[in-house]
Symmetry: C2
């Protein structure tokens, strides 16, 4: 792999990770892990405007994390790359470690 194509891979990987790196989009994943849902129900769950949710959904679709299909008036979104759900265990490990470190620091102060 050349230096240039390595850079491109890093950029594309960053795009996918960026698509996951937003509280509202994480809430969407958390909702969809239990099954497919339409935009209106997703919007209700995450507590944001439909237009905003629609845009966040399209980010996730364009990165291949979600997929969607039309069903009458509704558009039904579902998880495509289920492996992203595994990320959260590791992320939670980081957060717990951070919390422990803060605690340790507090005891020294």
């Amino acid at each position: 792999m050349t230096e240039k194509s390595r850079q491109i891979v890093y950029e594309r990987q960053a795009e996918v990770l960026k698509s996951l790196a937003h509280p509202l989009r994480i809430a969407i994943l958390d909702f969809l892990k239990d099954g497919e849902q339409c935009v209106c129900d997703i919007a209700k769950y995450v507590g944001s405007e439909r237009s905003n949710v629609s845009r966040h959904l399209s980010v996730l679709v364009s990165c291949g994390v979600l997929e969607c299909r039309k069903e009458g008036l509704k558009v039904i979104y579902s998880l495509k790359a289920k492996c992203v759900l595994d990320f959260f265990k590791c992320v939670t490990t980081c957060l717990i470690q951070q919390a422990k470190d803060s605690e340790k620091l507090l005891r020294v102060l």
Copy 2:
């Protein structure tokens, strides 16, 4: 878990994922997966200014992904949450799927 604390968890998870969602920081992880390194060598590897790299490193440390120690003049950074390396297999799966989908579309056009 209350609705409010759920939101806070999503936000903190997003912070950690955001710390990974940058090409330069992914390059750093790629370099550090083979062992600890000082800022100057990391900067050489990723091809960016030390001051810039230093800032990116501090983002990763503050999210608990990296840790560091002083050794004389140098500061040595290393992977703390090695589990983040597992993310890249899944991310690559998304990218390959995307590429396949584009290919499929091309054949229809």
